[in-house]
Subunit: 604 residues, 2 copies
């Protein structure tokens, strides 16, 4: 097994120097933290991951979670993740002091989560969903709900989940049917089935607190009739006791990857004794849930990028150790008396390494940027600023979730290839990364859903104001890069992409104006691929500006090779990846409507 899964120096570089953590730490909310304390926190997280997560990564794949006698049995490290992780603050980090939180910026929390995910992506979700569920209660729940449920969630004694998906509805939340029937005792009776509930049950939590979407009897059809409920596995009685709340663990889905992270099918109210407690107002459930969705989507993008990080270092280690083949000499022959070369010296292997590094780090920096926008939104002093950062976050979130998930598959596919036949073998770890990452393009809104969100909603946000705000941010990076020798060429190339984006929108938006939404959104996934490359190009240019300045000013936070390596990877991205936009633009501008159904079914 490989020994490295993440580059701590890169995590700190992106957090501190590129995303300038200090501009966030300067906010009053974070006055108890500074760069030094935050670095210490990150280092303690790395030590925890080294000790309690990474060594169990392979084992958790080989010994999957399973359903037995009505409950789910998970690997013992889940207990460590929740309790020790809870103590470290990995669940409570972003919350207010008064709620038991650490008031750490999301930027720092995201950097910490990245390290955990890279070490072992089967574990952090247990803590992450508990954090997300607690956030919903803290943000919108009653005082009583907060007091009864969140303290033990934040400490890791209890778990938390999000219960959205139902068998008949899938991604289409309009069609969920789980019922909530009012009673005269203040609570609701819940009845329904939820599937794909991550962390839905396990033997190490005394209780699991489900945040569940359901329809109150008589509510309007569609998404406007969905309410949010706290539905605990065990409800807390007035005397503080825990009694079973008629929540049944029906099954644990067996999966291709991420096998240690259980995925449950839950039944609610089989015996007509399942109590649910309304969170906030009736029929606003989806609205509340979606306020939390940006955090969840940052987390999925983070997980995907982190899994690809683990795969990158595993394949790099192999490439640096494996001798095979020889370079051709200038007459086209090989000198067989020479020792074999290490495969890291072969250009094709280097291409596959640079590709991975470009995907992993370009994604990581954009993910950290999203977390920074999140912090700047949440700490903004005035409405305009809050609106600005909220808009910026909304604009990039579909890409933050999708690019690492989709390009991560492509990256790991190349990492696996570096190992040749060994890459396909169970004794080597690449095949596990390859399987694990595949879920990320499905979690929290599939790529198709994200793409419709990006093109159909985000690009149109406030009549294009969101797009303008984002453009202004990118322009700042372009302006900076244009001033730095060696970066102008890439800045110009990225500028052309912005122009091309404009052309594409001018071609597509008229379809929406004419009411032909099917045609407008038919190629949303292609637009996602296109626009992701633009944003990751921006991310790399931003990294390069800071790296190049560090080299020019002789900044010694990292050594020169570290910065030069970033510039090398930027060059790879701009030479090998960004040109893909050309073909994608051609698709988007093409008059063909071949994917739209005709009267006769021609797909057979």
């Amino acid at each position: 097994m490989a020994t490295k899964y993440v580059d701590l120096a890169t995590v700190k570089f992106f957090m501190n120097q590129v995303q300038e953590a200090e501009t966030v730490l300067d906010k009053e909310r974070y006055q108890d933290h500074d760069s030094a304390s935050v670095d210490l926190f990150i280092e303690s997280v790395k030590q925890f991951a080294d000790k309690e997560l990474f060594p169990y990564f392979k084992e958790m794949d080989e010994k999957p979670a399973y359903h037995k006698d009505g409950s789910v049995v998970v690997h013992p490290q889940v207990d460590k993740m929740m309790k020790q992780g809870g103590e470290l603050g990995l669940i409570a980090a972003p919350f207010d002091y008064e709620d038991g939180g650490l008031q750490l910026p999301m930027l720092v929390h995201t950097a910490a989560g990245y390290i955990l995910d890279a070490a072992n992506n089967h574990l952090p979700g247990y803590a992450g969903l508990t954090s997300g569920a607690a956030e919903l209660i803290l943000e919108f729940g009653s005082k009583a709900l907060k007091e009864s449920y969140t303290p033990k969630m934040l400490s890791g004694e209890w778990g938390g989940t999000m219960c959205l998906t139902e068998p008949q509805a899938g991604s289409s939340l309009s069609d969920i049917v789980t019922k909530a029937i009012p009673t005269d005792k203040g609570h609701y009776k819940i009845n329904g089935q939820k599937i794909f509930i991550s962390g839905g049950d396990h033997q190490y939590a005394d209780n699991i607190v489900h945040l569940l979407l359901a329809r109150i009897e008589g509510a309007p059809a569609g998404t406007k009739g969905i309410s949010l409920f706290v539905v605990p596995k065990n409800r807390v009685t007035d005397s503080g006791e825990l009694v079973p709340n008629d929540v049944t663990t029906v099954a644990d889905f067996q999966k291709m990857g991420q096998k240690g992270y259980c995925t449950t099918h839950l039944g609610f109210g089989d015996k007509d004794d399942c109590q649910g407690y309304l969170v906030g107002e009736a029929n606003k459930g989806l609205h509340y849930m979606f306020l939390m969705m940006n955090g969840a989507r940052i987390a999925v993008g983070r997980t995907a990028s982190a899994i690809a990080s683990g795969a990158y270092y595993a394949s790099l280690e192999y490439a640096n150790e494996r001798p095979q083949g020889r370079k051709l000499s200038s007459d086209g022959t090989k000198n067989l008396n020479q020792k074999q070369n290490l495969i890291v010296e072969h250009p094709d292997v280097r291409r596959m390494l640079l590709l991975q590094k470009a995907v992993v780090e370009g994604g990581m920096n954009l993910i950290f940027k999203a977390a920074k926008y999140y912090d700047l939104q949440h700490t903004a002093q005035d409405k305009t600023e809050k609106h600005k950062y909220h808009s910026l976050l909304e604009m990039i979130i579909p890409v933050v979730k999708t690019y690492p998930s989709e390009a991560g598959i492509y990256a790991i596919n190349n990492g696996l290839q570096i190992l040749g036949g060994y890459g396909f073998c169970a004794d080597y770890i690449l095949q596990q990364y390859y399987r694990d990452i595949r879920i990320c393009a499905i979690y929290e809104g599939t790529t198709g859903i994200q793409s419709q969100d990006l093109l159909g909603r985000k690009m149109m946000l406030n009549n294009g104001e969101g797009a303008q705000l984002l453009l202004a941010e990118i322009q700042q990076t372009l302006d900076a890069a244009l001033q730095i020798p060696g970066l102008e060429i890439w800045a110009k190339q990225l500028g052309e992409q912005l122009q091309r984006t404009q052309e594409i929108l001018q071609h597509l938006v008229p379809f929406a104006m004419q009411g032909d939404f099917e045609r407008f959104l038919a190629d949303a996934s292609v637009f996602m691929e296109f626009f992701s490359l633009v944003l990751i190009g921006w991310s790399w240019l931003e990294i390069a500006v800071v790296a190049k300045r560090a080299l020019i000013t002789g900044d010694t936070t990292h050594d020169a090779t570290f910065y030069e390596s970033k510039l090398e990877t930027l060059e790879y991205f701009f030479v090998y990846e960004l040109p893909k936009t050309k073909g994608l633009a051609e698709v988007l501008l093409h008059p063909s409507a071949v994917t739209i159904k005709k009267e006769k079914e021609l797909i057979q």
Copy 2:
């Protein structure tokens, strides 16, 4: 589990109408066969696959082959594949009558193999490698070797393998070290280790006949000192008895996919009693092996395309049954009183279906074409013709092997996505196809090796004569398409790609002329991706010419929808896939040499 894995009508259409099987069947060698008898053979293979292969596909993944007490235990259907398959002629099909063969064209054998691979890719390899091993003996072995070993191989009683890879050498065959020490009894003593030996051992074969590469003591270094040996697991004594031949089954590699097809580690001569019998002349082993390699590479491409075919039909079936979401009406809202749409009606799902169909069928037709070239080469009456078809086969073989393997991953990735969360779950079959296909880009020369072969050797073949021959073939299709209303536009688009290929070669070849082979071949994999799209574009145009003619002439071999569906898929390929050549060309023409190692190591 899905019910369909291959479209028999399409297999027959490509074999009979597009590749014009009759032009092959007209050759004297095949005089006992005609279109009708060949169709019957293909149908019997389909029935065999329906009954003995497809029903065990999932089970063979769930109960992998394993090593126990020095041998490998495989699924009972391996026995059916070998014995019943042997009876059906699935091992003997291409060989001469006098050797016990059926004298069927490779085109027909390939169509049959395609069906088997699509039904259950864990099984046909046992027969396929036995066929390949027998072919080497029949082609280059002594009369005694033929008589002792091949009859029972062709009947499926004995297995056969190819033993090339060694742990320290991997893809670099120059570095193999397995020893062959001459004795005064005519045989050699073999000593060494071979890994990744598919079908290397199992409980259903009385014997396994290994075709093994080794170095005779004192042979020249590198590939010029490699000889080919028959090394049976049990040797045949003069009296016809079988006695153990000191071949040890050290291990069975556990893998991410294709788990029912064992992958063994074999030891030869641990007790200094392993006899090997030289095939043909000493030091010509690699030459012999590579004469068989085109067949092996057709087989890998065929397997990959066939696996993607299974995945395509499984995802199509799901899309035709799963209701989810609703189309937007012209005011951008959804009518919640409407029933949910089937997901096959959503453009993004249709895109993912067309993508799969384009990859699967575009690849299938090119694979069949390679098999036809093989037949035309082997039945050619004069040297010029033989040379022509040999050259054409050599030109396309790297793409025939690689495109289905690489694009097949991409296709199945999209098939899995159609199922959303279910695609990731073990209860659904998509995840198995996703895992199984991954080995194809590694088998029989990785994509990196194939790409170096394509750019470094094939594009240069006989000073470009090979490329000219191929160009003339493509031009024929272009000329035909230019005459058919509705196809001109695609023909022109493909013509531009040929122009672009020329430009790329004019940019790259000078590096080779200057002796800078590293630079010349640095982007060989990118060239492979580029050129694959060109050849698959050609394949689709060829299909379209026949389909369109059938529609115009009212040919009723298939119904009109069948032909229209092919034209629809052509349009998808030309609109969505072929434009990727633009970005790839930009990469290939870029002056950057970022993947070539500099003095300082910048990949970290």
